[in-house]
Symmetry: D3
Subunit: 237 residues, 6 copies
């Protein structure tokens, strides 16, 4: 897929829902694509889509950490903030620990300034009072003021990671909405965009029928008559 095609597919995907994506992925034999327990910090701006840039945190080890090393631009946490490309999504493996922050408001401000598309972690965020008003979507497992270094040591960027029970590979697509975050190989973006968009048009049509009183049987999933009615409606809209 060309970069342009990918960009276009992601634009479509951003208008869909994670529910639609997980259904399309399940049909393709990929049930393990949902990052669980991760929700938008700012309820008014919950959507993002972009390619994954990964950061891995392991438990702290005092001999590897000094005040200087953990604030150095070379420290993987700091490096990630400068290195994550604009339009990409920084995704952080925090081993699901929600009692400790992974990033604070200044580092996330830098990500926003650099045009990063979103931040996702199964850990917590710090300074969330300030961060809740940022335009960059931040999805996390919790809010906590405890300093990252109390529990975590950042070791690597751009390696495969675990996040919310799902595997995330650098360059995967991440898409988040109110339900959480879905992750999938970028090579599937075009077909997911096409089939997902059709699925959502169909579900919009079905949902109207349902709200108008149609029963589940014959409607969801649609039988031949319902599908024909949808095709007609779909052409007209």
């Amino acid at each position: 897929m060309s970069d342009t095609d990918l960009t276009q597919a992601l634009k479509v995907i951003e208008t869909l829902s994670t529910g639609t994506l997980t259904t399309q992925l399940l049909k393709r034999g990929l049930p393990s694509t949902f990052i669980a327990g991760v929700h938008p910090l700012n309820p008014d701006a919950p959507r993002f889509v972009g390619l994954a840039y990964t950061l891995r945190l392991i438990p702290k080890r005092e001999d590897k950490m000094s005040p200087d090393t953990v604030t150095s631009p070379l420290y993987p946490q700091r490096h990630a903030v400068e290195d994550c490309p604009p339009g990409h999504v920084l995704v952080i493996d925090a081993r699901g620990i929600t009692e400790t922050g992974t990033l604070g408001d200044i580092l996330v401000a830098r990500l926003q300034a650099r045009g990063v598309a979103g931040v996702v972690t199964d850990g917590a965020m710090r300074d969330t009072g300030a961060m809740m008003n940022y335009s960059i979507p931040v999805f996390c497992g919790g809010r906590a003021a405890r300093n990252s270094h109390v529990d975590h040591l950042a070791t690597e960027t751009q390696v495969p990671i675990a996040c919310g029970g799902a595997a995330v590979f650098p360059g995967d697509v991440l898409f988040g909405d109110e339900d959480g975050v879905v992750v999938f190989p970028a090579g599937l973006a075009a077909e997911l965009a096409a089939d997902g968009a059709r699925q959502e048009r169909l579900e919009t049509f079905l949902q109207r029928r349902v709200l108008d009183g149609a029963p589940i049987a014959g409607t969801y999933p649609p039988d031949a008559d319902t599908l024909a009615a949808f095709e007609k409606w779909d052409k007209e809209n």
Copy 2:
């Protein structure tokens, strides 16, 4: 209790609070009536009351599930959506798994269209972006796009279930507000409505006294003087 009496009792109960109900139930030797960890998806419409219609999910088993069987109108999840009577509450045992959806927006739209009074699950809901705007109250343990079939197999409707650590029997009363959901035998509805309403009038009276500076001693619980003052106030209002 006649159906009319029950209906009238439920109307009263809907104006009370789950805190009042658990207190009344505890006085009757029923401490195990609170469904824990289940909260309203739509914070603007948190209340519902109705009789329980139950659905049980167990772990998935591939030999029992095909794309056809799990979308058939006979599949218990789908059957429940059509069979739950108007005014009843669909309550789903999802074994407390909040990483996976149990129902999505189309099935819940159908429940709303059919006049079902509410949905309760200790699992998650999918498509919550859409669902948050529905008028039907939805109480759940979380939000997640992961498809139901990835973790669950629906086996039965209208059997006793576990939900949020409480037992729910078909025909029990379910009542939900901001604190969560309380469940109790329908046969108690009339006395709970009467005694609960009195308790809330008393607590309204006591709370005013407290906010006016009355100490806990003599007020909560009320002594004879406070009770007498309440009885006078209660008659006048």
Copy 3:
């Protein structure tokens, strides 16, 4: 530290953030000061500061509890509500159990009427529909209608307790904001206020630079040039 100095320090601290405080405490060798998993019930009024008044709950034991003893003004839960001094914060060790309430709306109304500065528990609150509109900040681990006595027995006030994984001693300072609650010895209040206020001015300055495009390197942490620029800016503002 005199009472006046402490009061003045707390006024400053209330304008800071828990993120700033945990950083200052970490620099002083105190990493274990964050009460995790405790968030404001009323999102519109999340801040408080005050000295800790503690209440300890242990598992219920039927032979120690009768309807009379647990509602007596001598019962530690009731005693705490009357005894916690105005301007102090009532903090309750509920062993992290979020399925059961620790206080309801009348007891919290009394705390508010008495001028108590806040309530913190790693357990749940009851009657949260009403309580969400109170002016007194309430931080808790959850919402639940289950009665306190179903799980808890209040045994003591004003002893050291555990709350959200942190130790809290009577007379410690508690400060809460959107991230949660930080706890520290009152003797540190003056220096934390001074150094924390400077840290926040610096971070405000750095964050503007970052939003204007400055990279992390040289900015966060600031190098000599950035610090000099800050000192100049700080004097001018």
Copy 4:
């Protein structure tokens, strides 16, 4: 499959291992067949095989339980102990609660006297001091003296249940060894016995090679040469 064929298949399966069975089931598209966290109480007698007889426990509810009802021969827990056929395995859904007993030594003695092949629960067992010396294999998630009725209400026998994260249907085969318990449809028993027995002969052969110094590559999985050597060895033994 005739009863005789099934009996013969089960005899073979009992000589295999749960590791072999899960591998064979995974090859057939059945990855969800392992009951996790359930181990033999008596380390000297860990094996059993038999058809599942199920018992379901839900949270206690005081209005459904009196001292008489829960000790009546009609109470599902008691009924199961008399109704589970000889050679079958009683498997109990205890929602993974290991702090409370599900059966004590007298009920398990009755199961042993009746020729039941084993007992499995993801809950705890009581009276384990005595039970550890029984000949009937007992697999459980823990040991606890707390009475069943403090947490559980038995509602049904012979319905599909959850146990240790797996679905169990009445009539499924259950097979347990040191690793835990595997569950699968009885219709697969013959082919699992045949293919599993071959797999174990092959693995015995491979393990000897490995212990004699053979590398993983070419041995595990076996290449054509290794397979040929195995076939020769297998015929000779």
Copy 5:
């Protein structure tokens, strides 16, 4: 109850089982008496009985702990080891944290030398390789080398505590066997000893009948005929 009577009652209780005790306590309205998840370190010597001497641990706080304070004979952990009376049981509230030790082999050796009857904690023990051969029964939630001070601060002895989900008051009776540990008020010891001993004689009788083929109905619970047969048997033995 005189000290002699209590001593005699405890001697009887030590011959019973925790299963019998929880049943007797449940009959007396005391269902909350089981310390869950706590098992004997030495499987060959699992029994003990004695009065509770309590020690409370809260989360560590660096400003309250120096190498000198935590090894001082005045530190509550050390004080407990010298102050727990011979024949009593040291029971430690470790908030269920099994990743960290609470006592090591030298402190437990001192307890043994002083004639203490047992040690119980819902936390872990250290140096368990050595400790497993001690004659003093040690019941704990796990084994771990991590030093107590990494997670815990000992604050008080002889206050009510939580242990394994149960309340323990100083002077309560603690009795442990293979199932775990039961706790109850000392004032009940005599009646529990008498009724418990009769229950065990009855259950021994019933179990023989069951192993000889008697059905549950009429036997467990015993009907009038079975009880009469028991009374006869009981007199003869």
Copy 6:
């Protein structure tokens, strides 16, 4: 440190205990060195020491896994088994999931044949019936027959990992006994061996005194007189 010095230091360390090592590490400012929840499969052979060879598992992702890739000698799990040097310890990050196996008996047989010193994982082992009789020490968080590929994807060897809440770097020393496993930088081995050996001689001396009736005060920690007596005893032994 030369290889010979390291070897000699490790020989000494193997005779000590993990309790001694964590104490020595804590004195050096390294409290985060204990791998929690990991215990020996074979209770008769619990000790090992060696340098860490690491393997990292993340959640499965179907598009990265085929039956061929996960059994290829290039698959990191298989590669690790051939690549871990003799005398080293294979340590596996399984994210603490104890319901799924990480290695089975043939792969561990290969490790044993190759002279690997031990295996450690915070996940489970499969085929533990066979493995329990191996001479190679195996420390794990549980036993489970579920196939590794159902939950895990092996991604890398010889990177820093998390195991049981601790960080493990390739080349760190791992030492395991009955309490669990301790991990530390190899550069500290010589001093830990020397100081640890002295600590254990001292503790042996102190424990005898304690068992002979010495109180904690003056003995543990030792005062000047006790230390002098120890020095004398130490020279004589």
